[in-house]
């Protein structure tokens, strides 16, 4: 535990006894004995000590014996070794004057001491032989100033304070490691302590941190090179400890052990210091006084708070988020619904798994009112965690809507692609990107309006929230982080096995869901839903291990969740299709034609027909086809969409390709062009040829659409042969089953 005892001269060797401490003397003798020792204390410096010992001795032999005793005294030799050169020489002169002790004998003793202390950390820049580093050797205190030896030995004022680098702190965000120095100091004249400050290592050398940190009281001396001398002096006089501060959440290998970092440090026994921005300071996995089984049942009980099509994705997101940067998980869950449908409360329940204080929806970590940069940084630092971004509400003005759309697009696209914006540093090098490493859960009164963004999100409309069940979960928020802590502990204990298991299950679930969702679903949907299913697998396994669910309940939970996620995936297909660019274009164009703002002239008219008053001719028509001038139609549709704050997010070429694929457009016979050439009044016009029924009524009308998920009541339409009524009945039964979890969740039960 202590350092190995260095080789010492015989006189300095340990005596193999328990040496006294002052308190032992109090205990074994009396405090008066201590006072007696204090009364006969000797001077501290080597020269004064030698004077006190030798001045009384006039006899050569006795004086020599006393001098030798001094050299056998380890503290005396230590004092001699650390004296300044001049003072040491004076002390040696005293020891050798009128004694048989030679200077060589003293030097030999000093060398023995040097060997004995070899390898020790030097204190205050001094070596064991008393010869110090030139920069520190020449530093002295003069009238409240730290001074160096300047020109011709004159003191050069460095500063009116003394400072030391107490610790070299490395801030590690998992991508970048930045060093900062924690510096403490005091004013030399008054001894007043200066508050400890952290200075970026890159800024330390310039010494420009002194005034911002310590104000006008701290004075750096004037003159060329003084700042650099001061910097060197501080560095050489410091013996900083080394610390690592983690500035992110989530799984991390610390000292060779996988652990989960939260604001309390580490979820396992590994010691780790975590400092995160204010928005993330509520992320803390604390175990409650309840049992693990009670906590896990309470967590699973959130399934009873709303239809399974809502709560299964929510529960899956809570636990899938733990693997967000590992698998990775790139789905964005988007809860939307009218104001007052309790979507924020539901999101808060999910978020509270990462810190019970976030059960209050006012304590959610993010909001869409934050800047895009702030959101980007939060989603980067909240690694392997669920982050709720609350309150997406349609903006009132077109400009605000565009800004809002741009922010949503950037954050969701980054999350979906696991990519961060590249940043250029001042030296033209590229800074490491900060990609999102969390699972983002957004709430809002509307779904995102951009089609490609919808494809990256899993849209869940919130309705029919059971307020009693919601209150039951909210009553014991401390159980939710406890449940998550159990899952985290299980992952930390068998990290590699869990990751391999989650990967294989994700791949299998993606295959199964693709088969169930069919070709109509967006290619990403099955993968997105499968990611949430992995979360369900995680919690159901750990709940089974903890005794919260038996094997049959675990399997039922998985089956129920799978069916609910299939329903969510099917609805996602209809929602994504609803707002494709082709849909937007055709619906807007037909609306403009129906309103009389645009007009298709009859192709059969022998003379150029005049449009109705206030209408603009956009092309021609016959009984079967509409022939639309592409430039005019694009211009009018774009203008109309701009008024509503939207826009077509694709180029005309991509739009027409989608319309061709949907058979809403007839291609040129040569296949080279997306339009057709039409002869009108003897002139050739390139037009888009569309079936007239597409222009007269929006395609994909309600009758053809897939109805919303299982919670929606009574329609006669079917989803791949299965009645949605059947979904309702099944959902009610299943919800009742999981309400039993809530009934059992009370820690007092």
């Amino acid at each position: 535990m202590s350092k190995p005892i260095p080789s010492l001269p015989v006189a300095w060797s340990p005596r193999g006894r328990d040496d006294l401490c002052p308190d032992d003397l109090v205990a074994q003798s009396s405090v008066e004995r201590v006072r007696g020792l204090l009364a006969v204390a000797r001077p501290a410096t080597a020269r004064e000590h030698a004077v006190a010992v030798l001045e009384r001795e006039t006899d050569h032999e006795r004086r020599s014996a006393r001098a030798r005793e001094l050299l056998d005294d380890l503290p005396y030799v230590a004092a001699l070794a650390l004296e300044d050169r001049a003072e040491r020489e004076r002390a040696i002169k005293l020891l050798t004057k009128r004694t048989s002790v030679t200077k060589a004998a003293v030097e030999e003793r000093l060398q023995a001491f040097e060997r004995a202390t070899e390898g020790q950390d030097s204190d205050e820049g001094q070596g064991q032989d008393g010869s110090t580093h030139p920069a520190v050797d020449s530093v002295s205190l003069e009238a409240g100033w730290l001074c160096a030896t300047g020109h011709r030995g004159k003191p050069l004022r460095l500063a009116n304070f003394d400072a030391r680098i107490e610790a070299e702190v490395t801030h590690d965000d998992g991508v970048d490691r930045r060093k900062r120095y924690r510096i403490t100091g005091s004013l030399l004249a008054t001894g007043e302590a200066l508050e400890a400050v952290e200075v970026p290592a890159a800024d330390f050398s310039a010494m420009k941190w002194v005034h911002p940190a310590w104000g006008a009281r701290a004075v750096v001396g004037a003159g060329p090179g003084v700042g650099d001398r001061l910097r060197e002096t501080i560095q050489l006089r410091s013996t900083p400890t080394r610390e690592t501060v983690y500035s992110h959440l989530g799984f991390r290998k610390v000292d060779g052990v996988w652990t989960y970092l939260d604001v309390g440090g580490s979820a396992s026994s590994v010691a780790a210091r975590v400092e995160v921005p204010h928005d993330l300071r509520r992320f803390q996995l604390i175990r409650s006084t309840a049992t693990a089984a009670d906590a896990l049942r309470a967590s699973i009980g959130i399934l009873a708070c709303a239809p399974l099509a809502i709560t299964v994705p929510l529960l899956g997101a809570v636990y899938a988020a733990l693997l967000a940067s590992i698998l990775p998980i790139d789905v964005v869950l988007w809860l939307f619904g009218q104001s007052g449908t309790r979507k924020s409360s539901l999101a808060a329940i999910a978020q509270a798994h990462y810190g019970s204080a976030m059960i209050d929806r006012r304590n959610l970590p993010c909001s869409w009112t934050s800047t895009a940069n702030a959101l980007e940084e939060t989603t980067f630092l909240a690694k392997d965690a669920l982050v709720v971004c609350d309150d997406y509400a349609p903006a009132s003005s077109a400009a605000a809507r565009q800004e809002q759309d741009a922010k949503v697009e950037r954050i969701v696209r980054n999350a979906g692609n696991r990519a961060g914006r590249q940043r250029m540093l001042a030296d033209l090098s590229l800074a490491p990107a900060h990609p999102p490493r969390c699972l983002l859960l957004s709430t809002g009164e509307d779904a995102p309006r951009i089609a490609s963004i919808r494809a990256r999100t899993l849209l869940v409309e919130v309705q029919d929230v059971d307020l009693n069940a919601l209150s039951a979960v909210q009553r014991y928020p401390e159980l939710l982080p406890h449940a998550l802590a159990e899952v985290v502990a299980s992952i930390c204990g068998h990290y590699d096995a869990w990751v391999a298991y989650a990967r294989s299950q994700q791949a299998e679930a993606t295959r199964n869901l693709s088969a169930r969702l069919g070709p109509k679903a967006h290619s990403r949907t099955a993968g997105n839903v499968a990611q949430l299913y992995v979360g369900i697998l995680l919690v159901s396994d750990v709940a089974n291990q903890a005794g919260a669910l038996d094997a049959a309940e675990r399997d039922r939970l998985r089956n129920d969740a799978f069916e609910a996620l299939v329903a969510v995936g099917r609805r996602q297909a209809s929602l994504a299709e609803d707002e494709s660019p082709a849909e937007q274009y055709v619906r807007t164009l037909s609306g403009l034609l129906a309103s009389g703002a645009l007009w298709l002239a009859p192709r059969s008219a022998s003379v150029a027909a005049e449009p109705p008053r206030g209408a603009r001719t956009v092309g021609w028509r016959d009984d079967e086809w509409g022939y639309v001038l592409p430039t005019v139609a694009w211009e009018e549709v774009s203008r109309a969409l701009k008024v509503s704050g939207a826009g077509l997010p694709v180029s005309p070429r991509m739009l027409y390709q989608e319309m061709l694929a949907r058979e809403w457009l007839v291609a040129d016979p040569d296949g080279k062009h997306q339009g057709r050439v039409l002869n009108v009044g003897g002139k050739s016009k390139r037009v888009l040829k569309l079936p007239i029924e597409v222009l007269e009524g929006a395609p994909g009308s309600d009758a053809e659409r897939i109805e919303p998920g299982p919670s929606t009541t009574s329609t006669s339409s079917t989803v791949e042969g299965r009645s949605t009524d059947q979904c309702d009945v099944r959902d009610d039964a299943v919800r009742t089953r999981w309400q039993r979890c809530l009934a059992r969740d009370s820690p007092t039960s």
Partner: protein, 219 residues
């Protein structure tokens, strides 16, 4: 380095500060065992003073956690005031006084990898720290400082950061280190450095020696 000030001492009133932060093991332990109470009582440290100084008994496992090393002895954990970036300071374990150590090792074990902090017994009044005519005794363990302070001798243990910012100019300061200074180069060096530090601050520094068997220092 001068991170301790009189204001910190004033703030460190009995039970006025939260339990030490780096010692979850300690906060849940019983305060002091009967053996430790007897050990401290022999040194004039009453149970009330032990409580106000936040002394705790720790078992070998807790001691190992606090020290960051494996130890096989019970001990008394001693908390002290550490200034930090917040400016308010906090308490941390500065030493565990181990009951049993191997020959040659110090009883007062420090947490591994941390600088040795300064220990100022709360029983010493703020007037004493401010009054340069009051003699201070510098010892090398917190328990020794507390024992002397309990007996009316103003004492402190100066750590790696240097002397605290009490008024040193013109003050008589006597170093009274353990008997290990006679053969342990670490202890001897630390004593000399503390002495030089105090001399640099204008104190009148003296060195006292405890008796040892070899010097015929029978108790």
């Amino acid at each position: 380095m001068y991170t301790y000030s009189v204001s910190h001492v004033e703030n460190a009133q009995p039970h006025a500060s939260p339990a030490p932060t780096a010692n979850a093991a300690v906060s849940s332990a019983p305060l002091l065992s009967a053996d430790h109470l007897a050990f401290l009582a022999a040194r004039g440290i009453s149970p009330d003073l032990s409580a106000s100084a936040e002394l705790y008994s720790v078992d070998p496992q807790q001691a190992s956690e606090l020290l960051g090393d494996t130890v096989a002895s019970w001990g008394i954990a001693v908390a002290c005031w550490i200034s930090d970036a917040s400016g308010l300071g906090h308490r941390e374990i500065c030493c565990v006084r181990l009951d049993h150590v191997a020959p040659g090792e110090a009883h007062c074990a420090r947490p591994r990898g941390r600088p040795r902090p300064t220990y100022l017994p709360t029983v010493v009044t703020r007037e004493t720290w401010r009054d340069p005519t009051a003699e201070l005794v510098v010892v090398d363990s917190p328990i020794a400082a507390l024992a002397l302070a309990a007996a009316g001798i103003a004492a402190l243990d100066i750590g790696d950061d240097g002397a605290p910012s009490v008024e040193w100019r013109g003050r008589r300061a006597t170093l009274l280190y353990s008997g290990r200074r006679a053969w342990n180069a670490d202890v001897a060096l630390r004593e000399v450095r503390v002495a030089r530090d105090l001399l640099g601050r204008g104190a009148k520094v003296l060195v006292a020696e405890l008796p040892t068997l070899e010097r015929g220092g029978a108790l």
